[in-house]
C-alpha cells in the first residue's frame, strides 16, 4: 500500500515538479505547501469541535492549497513587483493559522503530526483512491496542455501576443501544483513536500534537455527515493517522510559530482 501510494505520488511530482523547477517557482510551491497547514488545522478543529466528519485535514489541505495557488497567481499577474514578499506573507499566514487551530483543537493531534511530517505507512485504502483520482486529473491535464504549459513557462509575453489565455493556463498550472502538493503530503508531509516536488526534477534536469525526458526521469527517481526511503525508515526506525526527503537530498548532492553532457 505504501509503495503504491509513493509511486502514484511520484508520477504527479515528477510531472509537475518539472514545470516548477523549469519555471523557477520552487518558492511558490513552498508557499503553497506550507500554507496548507492552515486548512489542515481549521478542518481538524471543525471536525473535532463540531463533529463534521467529512472535514478531514486532507480536504482542508486541498482547499487551502487551491486558495493559496489562486492568490499567488493573482499576485504574480497583477502585482509582480511585490511577488516574493506577498508569497512569503502567505507562507507564514497559513502556518500561523495552522498552529493556532492546532492549539484550539481538543485532544492529542497525532493525525496532524502525520500530515505535517508525513507517514506513508499510515495511508488508508480511501487515501489511495483519492491519490489515484488526483493523479489521473494531473496526468490528463499534462497530456492535453503540455505544449501550452511549456510555452507559458518559457515566455508568457510571447504566448500572450498570440492570444493564448495565459492567465487561465497559469492558474491551471498553479492549481495542478496545489493538487500535487496535497498528494505528496501523504508521502513526506507538508513540511517536506518541496523536497519531493523539486529534487527529482532538479536532478533529471541536470541530465536531460527536453521536458518529457526530464519528467520521465523525475518520476523514476521519485519512485526510487520513495522505495529506498520507506525501506530505510523501516530498518532504522526513522520517520519515513524525513527519510525519503533525506534520500532525495543525498542523491541530489551526488548528482553534482558528475554532470553528463546533455
Amino acid at each position: 500500500m505504501a509503495i503504491l501510494a509513493g509511486a502514484s505520488a511520484s508520477i504527479t511530482a515528477g510531472i509537475m515538479g518539472s514545470y516548477v523547477v523549469a519555471k523557477r517557482i520552487v518558492f511558490i510551491s513552498g508557499s503553497i505547501s506550507h500554507s496548507v497547514l492552515g486548512g489542515m488545522g481549521l478542518f481538524l478543529w471543525l471536525k473535532r469541535t463540531y463533529g463534521i466528519s467529512w472535514m478531514s485535514p486532507l480536504n482542508g489541505a486541498l482547499l487551502f492549497a487551491l486558495i493559496s495557488a489562486f492568490l499567488i497567481g493573482w499576485v504574480h499577474l497583477k502585482h509582480k513587483e511585490r511577488e516574493d514578499t506577498i508569497i512569503a506573507a502567505l507562507w507564514s499566514t497559513g502556518m500561523s493559522l495552522g498552529i493556532i487551530f492546532i492549539a484550539l483543537t481538543p485532544g492529542y493531534n497525532v493525525e496532524l503530526m502525520h500530515f505535517l511530517f508525513g507517514n506513508i505507512l499510515w495511508i488508508s485504502k480511501s487515501d489511495i483512491f483519492l491519490i489515484l483520482g488526483l493523479d489521473l486529473i494531473v496526468l490528463i491535464c499534462a497530456f492535453f496542455f503540455h505544449n501550452r504549459f511549456l510555452a507559458i513557462c518559457f515566455d508568457e509575453e510571447q504566448a500572450r501576443l498570440q492570444n493564448v489565455k495565459v492567465t487561465w493556463y497559469y492558474f491551471l498550472l498553479l492549481a495542478l501544483i496545489a493538487v500535487s502538493v496535497v498528494l505528496l503530503i501523504q508521502v513526506v508531509g507538508a513540511i517536506l513536500v518541496i523536497a519531493m516536488l523539486a529534487i527529482p526534477a532538479a536532478i533529471a534536469g541536470r541530465f536531460q534537455n527536453r521536458m518529457p525526458h526530464i519528467m520521465g526521469l523525475a518520476i523514476l527517481l521519485g519512485i526510487i527515493f520513495t522505495v529506498i526511503g520507506t525501506s530505510g525508515s523501516w530498518y532504522l526506525n526513522w520517520p519515513p517522510g524525513a527519510t525519503i526527503a533525506l534520500t532525495a537530498a543525498i542523491f541530489y548532492s551526488l548528482s553534482f559530482y558528475k554532470k553528463i553532457p546533455k
Binding site: F143, H146, F154, D155
Partner: protein, 223 residues
Amino acid sequence: MSIEIKNLEFAYDKNLILENVSLSIPHGNFIVIFGPNGGGKTTLLKLMMGFLKPSKGTVEIAYNKIGYVPQITRYDKQFPITVFELVLTGAISKCTWWGSYPQSIKQKALEALSQVGLSQLKDQSFGSLSGGQAQRALIARALISEPEILLLDEPTASVDTKSEREIYKLLMDLKGEITILMVTHDLQPILDKADLLYCVRKKVFPLLPKDACGHFAMGLYHD
C-alpha cells in the same frame, strides 16, 4: 496596415517615461527606433504590442499578426527546451484541442529554421546556443506565425560582429515583405538600411537616415 500612436504618455508610478508621443509606422518599411538607455525604447515597443497600457493617448494597431523578438538576455539559459520546440512555441495558438502541433506547423518550423540557418541545431538545447544563434532562433520563432510586422528589441546587443552581419542580412532579406521595426542603441551599422528613424528620449523625434546627425551614430544624443 499601420501603427498609429497619438498623444501618448506613459509613466511607471510617477516617473514619466514617454511624453506626448505621436508617430506613424507605415507598412512595408524598415523602421529603426534608437536612443539612449532608459530613453523609453523598449517601453514604446511594449506599448505597441499591448503589453503596457498608456497613461494617456491612443495606440491603434492595424496588424493581425505581430512577430516579436525580445532581447536574448531575458531568457533562462537553463530552461529545458530545444531549438525546434522553441520555434514551435511561436505557433502555440495553432495547437489542436488535444494539445499537439499540426504537421503543417512542424513543417513551417523546419522552414523557418532553414531560413535563419539553424537547421543543423534544431535538436540542441536553446541554452547551449551562442548569442547570435539564439537571436536567430528567436527570429525563426517570430517568423513561424507569418507576421505582418516584426518587432525586434536590440537584436544585436549581445552578439559578435559576424553574428550581427548575419542578423542584418536576414532582416534585409525580409525587408519589403513585412514591416520591420527594430529598437537599437547602436545606430551606425543600420543607418544605410533603414527607411525611417525615430529617436526616443522621453519624447520621440522622426528623422530620415540621411538627416541623422553623426553624433547620434556615435551615441551622443541631442535635440
